[in-house]
């Protein structure tokens, strides 16, 4: 059965809750009767071994997949009745970067598609360590550089809930530091983050909660 390690932090109002979530994939029960609550300003880490169902859980929380059982509420309303999709920034395991387009062109498309803020793209890409690489096709960038392009959304979004699947993949130390700083700013403004990662978070985010999924046969 499911084992949850919950370190209760003071909750400034629950914004996102999931009750009795059950997920079955290819006739295997990944998790059942899972309850989850997220408050504003909280960072929730989903942990577990490979294959335990972390990505499936994230996709259910992002509203991509319907759970086999259970209910999700955003600010007290069912997901589809609320403005959840506008308040969500979801960056999954795949980067979402189109390799034939340049970083600037990718950003232009995301700006329109996800209603991102207008900003100086050059400055932003420089902050992410991509100065001088803005207008070459992304297929010529390394995996880590492409990941940085995809994470640029986080600086431009006005979404309050971030759901991120392994955001630190392929990033080097400097990029990880920049990203952690951005997480901190987002949490300070009252936003919330749900993520999976194999990086240790407790140093930078002592208040982070951990939800551990157990691998079920």
């Amino acid at each position: 059965m499911l084992r949850c390690a919950l370190f209760f932090s003071e909750s400034a109002g629950i914004v996102f809750s999931a009750t009795q979530l059950t997920c079955v994939r290819q006739d295997r029960i990944l998790f059942e009767a899972l309850d989850l609550r997220l408050a504003a300003g909280e960072l929730l880490q989903i942990g577990g071994k490979n294959g335990a169902g972390k990505t499936s859980l994230l996709r259910i929380l992002a509203g991509l997949t319907a759970p086999d059982e259970g209910e999700l509420l955003w600010q007290g309303q069912p997901l589809h009745d609320s403005d959840f999709s506008r308040q969500l920034c979801y960056i999954g395991h795949l980067s979402g970067v189109q390799p034939q387009l340049t970083a600037l062109e990718n950003l232009a498309f995301w700006r329109a598609a996800f209603a991102l803020k207008t900003a100086d793209d050059f400055q932003l890409l420089a902050l992410l360590g991509l100065a001088g690489l803005e207008d070459i096709p992304c297929q010529m960038l390394s995996a880590g550089q492409q990941r940085r392009v995809s994470l640029a959304r986080l600086w431009l979004t006005s979404a309050t809930l971030w759901i991120l699947d392994e955001p630190f993949t392929a990033l080097d130390q400097s990029a990880i530091a920049v990203l952690q700083q951005q997480f901190g700013q987002h949490l300070a403004k009252g936003g919330s983050i749900i993520l999976t990662t194999h990086q240790p978070l407790s140093q930078h985010f002592p208040q982070a909660r951990l939800l551990e999924l157990v691998y079920r046969w």
């Binding site: 991509l64 319907a66 999709s85 979402g96 189109q98 034939q100 329109a112 996800f114």
Partner: protein, 221 residues
């Protein structure tokens, strides 16, 4: 509207950078057209008789081939799942994909129609009918192909399956489009057939985008 423009611009850029995506289906179309006279004999009266059917079958095959890759890249890179999670941009994105794939597959066909008329020995009225039916019919054909691409997006064996699914749905279009060209070659009026094509197009415009959205959500979710 902004989303539609940006998505269309994106598709246009991608087509400009991957010319094979639209050049190859064009060459495929001409090659298939050439196969028919080689296979059934090049007698002029025979060709004139089967020309309408050949054109529309070749058009179907090349559009099917071209549209198969439509959503696959975005699916593999994760763009599609981000759009589905955000929900709002999905419909403009699908419409932009439909328009850009029509531009990349059907516009070349229209521009090549004089060449087709030459190869198959079509008369002037026949050629005019070919152009008109292509104008009305290729959007419908394209929408069906996009629907097929959306349905088979995450399937293990995509290619042939897409053709298997779409071919039965394509039969009414084939019947009326080739009948229109046939009537034109005999000097008869074909406005009735065009009207039916237009009606089918309107029905498809209303229903197919919804079906595509649903299919995309199921495949991504």
């Amino acid at each position: 509207m902004v989303i539609f423009r940006q998505a269309f611009l994106r598709e246009w850029r991608l087509l400009a950078r991957q010319k094979a995506d639209w050049l190859n289906p064009m060459m495929f179309f001409i090659l298939v057209l050439t196969l028919f006279p080689l296979g059934v004999g090049a007698k002029p009266n025979l060709l004139v008789e089967i020309a309408p059917g050949i054109i529309w079958i070749a058009a179907l095959l090349s559009v099917l081939l071209a549209t198969e890759r439509l959503f696959k890249d975005d699916y593999r890179q994760g763009t599609l799942e981000q759009l589905v999670a955000a929900q709002q941009p999905l419909l403009p994105y699908v419409l932009a994909k439909m328009l850009s794939s029509w531009c990349s597959t059907a516009l070349p066909l229209l521009l090549m129609s004089p060449l087709i008329a030459l190869l198959l020995g079509l008369s002037m009225p026949s050629w005019q009918a070919v152009v008109l039916t292509l104008l009305l019919g290729t959007p419908l054909l394209n929408m069906l192909a996009v629907l097929g691409a959306a349905l088979t997006l995450s399937a293990d064996k995509g290619g042939i399956l897409l053709a298997l699914l779409i071919l039965p749905l394509y039969i009414p279009l084939l019947i009326f489009a080739s009948a229109a060209v046939e009537n034109a070659s005999m000097g008869l009026s074909y406005s009735a057939q065009l009207a039916v094509l237009a009606a089918m197009l309107c029905l498809a415009l209303a229903l197919v985008p919804l079906a595509v959205l649903k299919a995309l959500k199921i495949n991504v979710g």
